[in-house]
Symmetry: none
């Protein structure tokens, strides 16, 4: 059913051992040398694999890295739940602090930044990047906001997708452009400010 399967050789014969080795080598290398100096040859060598085996199954080194990263993230099973204590400010602050810590972890940062950057250039990749990594991440925020909306803490007429953009846009921007540090101070202030925008309108006539 997957239309992407068509261009591949016989998937059932694929060597799982090679696939794993390639993904792992990619993650290691991107951490060691950075994305721009990551080469297919080095991945193949590190993985003990012929270059052709990479070219056979992936269209670009970015695609390899995306698979590699997705696999790691899934292994961590990151849908580990979003807290809902009833106090939306506290919950958002908790999660955004955690997110900030995650984005400061170099093991996570190198490949994720690499992908974000590659996606900014390559629309094909951007698609997959958004579908497989970004959207699942945003969805949990949207749902927590919806819960707050139902609890009357958030303006019921508000577009929640825009609200999530308001919250995460400044965060992501600061991270990607390194225009400032991702401190808890920052994330807390951000949550407070955003919640002022989301609050139900007072002057109910």
């Amino acid at each position: 059913m997957s239309s992407t399967t068509a261009k591949h050789p016989d998937v059932s014969r694929r060597s799982e051992r090679s696939r794993k080795a390639i993904l792992q080598a990619s993650m290691e290398l991107v951490g060691e040398v950075g994305y721009p100096k990551l080469t297919i040859e080095a991945i193949a060598a590190r993985a003990g694999v012929g270059k052709q085996t990479i070219y056979r199954w992936w269209p670009s080194k970015a695609a390899v890295l995306l698979d590699a990263f997705t696999e790691v993230v899934h292994d961590q099973d990151y849908d580990s739940g979003f807290p809902d204590t009833g106090d939306i400010e506290a919950d958002l602050k908790t999660v955004l602090r955690a997110t900030a810590d995650e984005f400061s972890d170099t093991a996570f940062e190198a490949p994720y930044r690499a992908l974000a950057v590659a996606a900014a250039t390559d629309p094909k990749l951007a698609d997959q990047f958004v579908t497989r990594l970004r959207e699942p991440g945003l969805k949990v925020y949207t749902e927590r906001l919806r819960s707050g909306q139902e609890a009357g803490q958030i303006d019921p007429e508000l577009d929640l997708d825009l609200a999530v953009e308001l919250l995460l846009g400044p965060f992501q921007q600061r991270w990607l452009s390194r225009s400032g540090p991702l401190t808890h101070e920052f994330t807390d202030r951000l949550v407070e400010l955003v919640l002022r925008a989301l609050a139900p309108r007072d002057g109910k006539p």
Copy 2:
């Protein structure tokens, strides 16, 4: 005064003709083939210049592009003033709409995106990118917000830098990651939402 001058050869002997030709060729080529396929060799060839003349004055193709882009921006004298009609919502909407249009112009987009992406990878470049292009752009927003603050339309205790991040973060993020279109509808909603966050706190007479 300028610490970067030191590593250069004798600046006074520099060929202005070559400098101009290189910057122009860079802008043309990045539009034609995109940043990843932009090569120093092609720039040199198009500019009718030896490769060494590029390597002599710039450390990377990104640096060339940054100079090229800066020059264009300055020629347009973009400090052409930020409107201040007294109606802060209208003023912000006007400017953000214009900014959205600018970021949708391919002639502007290609090199700017290239720079933003390169800066995300190369901290050295990021520095210059921020000081020479980003900060001047943000400053005018900060000033308009300060004016609004003085006029009592904005909470006087607010950190205006964070306010600007709140406004432009989602905008930049959407643009860079192509996670949505930069319509006037979007920018208007964004301005409205942000202003709710910036409004002076009620019930404090």
Copy 3:
């Protein structure tokens, strides 16, 4: 067995087509532009081959040319026999005349001079030049002189290697330094003079 094989990649996978094309292109180009203007890039381009394929198998352009020249010489199967009519003076004159003619043939001269010159500078190359081109050429002279020695026409106590140097040294020197023309007149006089030196000592019955 072969100590030089070690530093090479897998010889069995070598492309015979490329090897031939490179050697032929070298010979053509050295004739057209001369050795100093012979470039690896031009050889690669003419041969329809990547530069790397040349660098993979040869350490320098001189080495390429040596292989090319050796191949041509072997194709001509130049061990085509040294005449031995019993008249040593006639035989030597015949062969030296032929050699002079060969050294006057531009198709032969350009690459051979190039190699002789390069060998004079590069001892590594000199080794191979001597073993693969010079020694086989000298050996046939030595053998003819030995035959003459056995026939009593040459002093039996003579060092035949020195004798060959005496004959070919002036010849080579004149050719290499262009200090005079390689006429048959010259070669004949040379043979006569040398034979006076080689003659058995008289008055020792």
Copy 4:
């Protein structure tokens, strides 16, 4: 009178200091890095001179080296006389031994070999090389042989130029191609053998 003066700028204004420095730097550098790696830029830098000053007065690096070497040789005033004791064999042996020693002195060898090699490629240079270095060197041999001829030790009908070629050809050849060591043993044997060729014909009828 000198036809070469015409193409030069005003010779009278030439800086003697620069000329000396260039020649000395050339000699030093050719000894340090060898002729093929000798560059005009390095000579200029070492001599503390602008490149143009070299290009103004010499057509090639070989020409510079030739001047440099000639100057050194003349300073040594090498026409220091050829011994003529009456014993031609002893005299030739003495001089050829000295020559062999000279050609084994690296300070002399590097530039002289460089010139010999360059001359083998560049006929223009070869002319000057022969006129200014080789011929003066050969002339003294010719004269000594003529003296021997007049003394009846050498066949009066012999072409003395050819005789000198017979003596020095093997010597030069061995040196240039490094096909053997320039021992006194070798030069002595060579002189003896050559003299057998030059001896007056015994069988005077």
